[in-house]
């Protein structure tokens, strides 16, 4: 049944128009991934208004292709310029940049792209088989289950996100508050508008994404004084083929990285820890751990496989549950709503063309993507040689256009600037931005799920633990919420347990 649907999906994805859309999306995405201040999330956000007039399947292919491109693009800057374009490319710089300095940039890039591709393919295959199953289970979910999943989503930011759990919490709550501003559709009451007409529409998350990630990132990067010292790529067909011959040696690293990536990736914020974890595992199991950090090809393979596997896996909860696993997936979810599709498990039965077209396009998009980046690396790397006095205002202008186009409203450009400053301050103070965006997207959904659950239970919170599925998910969520409190306590406990024999 799955294979049949997939074949049907390929018939949709492999039309000349949709392939062209994919090529266009990947080119643009790679450029966006290479440019500082423009990552996958706000690239997708800026492009979203252009898709309003497209058929939904082509639109989602454009946006996902952009996302794959941005994932590939991040590796280029990490290896050649020692600048991680995205947080999950940080681990790639550890060995990628030393390799490039030793004149093996071509090998490092080939390894990075190939492992990205392998990681992505692994996740796509899993999505192909698991997504329909998960959607079927999710069809039986009621409001309490959905609210429990939301809890789990946000608890994993706190428990697994790293950084200050309190600041993650503030970020989440702030996102929900911003989402609540404006008209309450359930009661028709105005909330937190304080008499301002402009506040009645509330805050659009697309504008928030563009401001927080786009403008905020630009401010951060000009502060560091942009000066790109790139190393030439040294890519040609010989290098690619020779590197491919050595890659089977790292088969275990591929498998490990792909599993870690998929497992971490379908939970929010998973790509970055996945890449670090995969790197750490590769180093621990290596015969030459001392070579890591000095230019070991395996140190590029491990994080790239995991990061790309995680990036793809973030799409799984988005298409099956309607809950995005990453800010980029969140923007796509917003797109689904704008195109008139109802995200969630019903998508599989009501819009099979869309879902299977999307899944099939993940295969084609990544195949086209890896071939394109391998072929055109020097071109993409050259983008960073554009002087930053041109790039900076260009990115600001593009952000302004993107913000305005969402609702054709001037106030959104102002919001974008304000969100930019907030993003800059928050980033400097280590407040995570991804949970804020996710909360802003999911705010209304979460609140409605909570309200409906409470109506079902006549106001008792017990409904979240008494129903079996909701209970298990809530328990997991509570576990993640208290994890930051438990961890130091557990460490102390273990510390004394280990120390005790020494004393006796």
């Amino acid at each position: 049944m799955g294979v049949e649907n997939l074949l049907h999906g390929f018939q949709i994805a492999v039309t000349p128009f949709n392939l062209l859309v994919a090529v266009f999306g990947i080119t643009l995405g790679t450029i966006i991934g290479v440019l500082p201040g423009l990552g996958g999330a706000n690239g997708v956000a800026i492009l979203l208004p252009l898709t309003f007039t497209m058929p939904p399947t082509s639109a989602i292919i454009l946006l996902t292709s952009l996302y794959w491109g941005a994932l590939f693009g991040g590796a280029i800057t990490s290896v050649l310029f020692n600048i991680p374009g995205e947080p999950w490319s940080v681990a790639t710089t550890f060995d990628g940049y030393p390799l490039a300095r030793q004149g093996q940039g071509g090998q490092a890039l080939t390894a990075a792209f190939s492992s990205s591709f392998v990681g992505a393919l692994f996740s796509i295959v899993l999505i192909t088989f698991f997504a329909p199953l998960l959607a079927e289970i999710a069809l039986r979910f009621g409001p309490p289950e959905f609210f429990a999943i939301q809890l789990l989503t946000f608890s994993s930011f706190i428990g697994l996100g790293g950084g200050d759990p309190l600041k993650s919490l503030v970020s989440i709550v702030l996102g929900f508050i911003l989402a609540a501003v404006g008209l309450d559709i359930v009661t028709g009451q105005l909330r937190m508008t304080f008499g301002f007409v402009d506040l009645m529409k509330g805050f659009d998350f697309i504008v928030a994404v563009i401001g927080l990630f786009g403008v905020g990132e630009i401010l951060l990067s000009v502060e560091e004084g942009l000066s790109f010292k790139g190393i030439s790529t040294g890519m040609n067909l010989r290098v690619v083929l020779d590197t491919w011959k050595t890659l089977p040696r790292y088969a275990r690293t591929f498998v490990r990285g792909a599993f870690i990536g998929f497992w971490m990736g379908f939970k929010p914020g998973g790509a970055t820890p996945a890449s670090f974890m995969s790197y750490a595992f590769a180093k621990r199991f290596s015969k030459h751990p001392e070579r890591f950090g000095k230019g070991e090809l395996e140190g590029v393979v491990a994080p790239e496989t995991a990061a790309h596997a995680a990036g793809v896996a973030a799409m799984l909860p988005m298409i099956t549950l309607g809950i995005p696993g990453s800010p980029t997936a969140a923007v796509m979810l917003g797109g689904l709503i704008i195109w008139g599709l109802q995200p969630g498990p019903l998508l599989f039965t009501e819009k099979p063309d869309f879902v299977w077209g999307l899944i099939a396009s993940m295969y084609t998009g990544n195949i086209i993507g890896v071939l394109m980046v391998l072929a055109f690396v020097p071109f993409f790397a050259a983008i960073l040689r554009i002087p930053f006095a041109i790039l900076t205002p260009l990115i600001v202008v593009v952000c302004a256009i993107g913000s305005y186009a969402v609702h054709n409203s001037m106030i959104d450009i102002w919001y974008m600037l304000i969100f930019g400053v907030v993003g800059y301050v928050f980033k400097k103070l280590d407040y995570p931005l991804a949970p804020l965006v996710l909360a802003l997207v999911l705010g209304d959904l979460a609140e409605n799920a909570l309200r409906q659950s409470l109506i079902m239970s006549q106001g008792s919170l017990a409904i979240f633990v008494s129903r079996p599925i909701a209970g298990v998910i809530t328990a997991a969520a509570i576990f993640f919420f208290v994890l930051p409190v438990l961890t130091p306590w557990w460490r102390r406990l273990r510390g004394t347990a280990v120390a005790a024999p020494h004393r006796s």
Partner: protein, 153 residues
């Protein structure tokens, strides 16, 4: 760093208070058909106040020498910010394309010290390109001013 952390936490606590007060105004209890409009935001506000207060207290007790931003770092940030603000102000009277052309030209000349040829190419070429892409291909209208009106758009 400490001052910035404290200031941010204080603003967040204040914001939380505003949210809580507004939620109390519209009702946080049980209405005729379920929780009232203020129910969800009220508890969000409470969590925000508590979390931000603890962050503030922690920041108070921790002293770091690392400054939030040095003068050298902040100057380029302002150099991006205030021309951008000016551009946004100019969008209304001049339209987005002209405002962005002026902004790009100004920034390129002032920060990048680019030659006039590069200046004209970028500051004219890029807005024209965006005009073609947005207004003509994808039919997404942008704010337009007297220049576009004069050209017949």
């Amino acid at each position: 760093m400490r001052a910035a952390d404290l200031a941010t936490a204080s603003i967040l606590v204040l914001l939380g208070c505003v949210v809580v007060l507004d939620s109390l105004r519209i009702g946080i209890g049980w209405g005729t058909d379920g929780p009232r409009s203020g129910f969800f935001p009220f508890w969000l506000g409470v969590i925000l106040i508590l979390a931000a207060a603890i962050i503030g207290l922690q920041a108070w007790h921790r002293s770091t020498d690392r400054p939030f931003v040095t003068r050298e770092q902040f100057r380029p940030v302002l150099k991006v910010l205030w021309p951008a603000t000016l551009m946004v102000i100019l969008i209304k009277p001049l339209g987005l394309y002209l405002a962005s052309a002026l902004y790009m030209a100004f920034y390129m000349r002032w920060v990048g010290r680019h030659g006039w040829l590069a200046l004209v190419l970028c500051a004219v070429g890029i807005p024209v390109l965006t005009f073609v892409v947005f207004e003509m291909w994808f039919l997404v209208p942008m704010p337009k001013g007297p220049l576009e009106a004069w050209l017949g758009y």
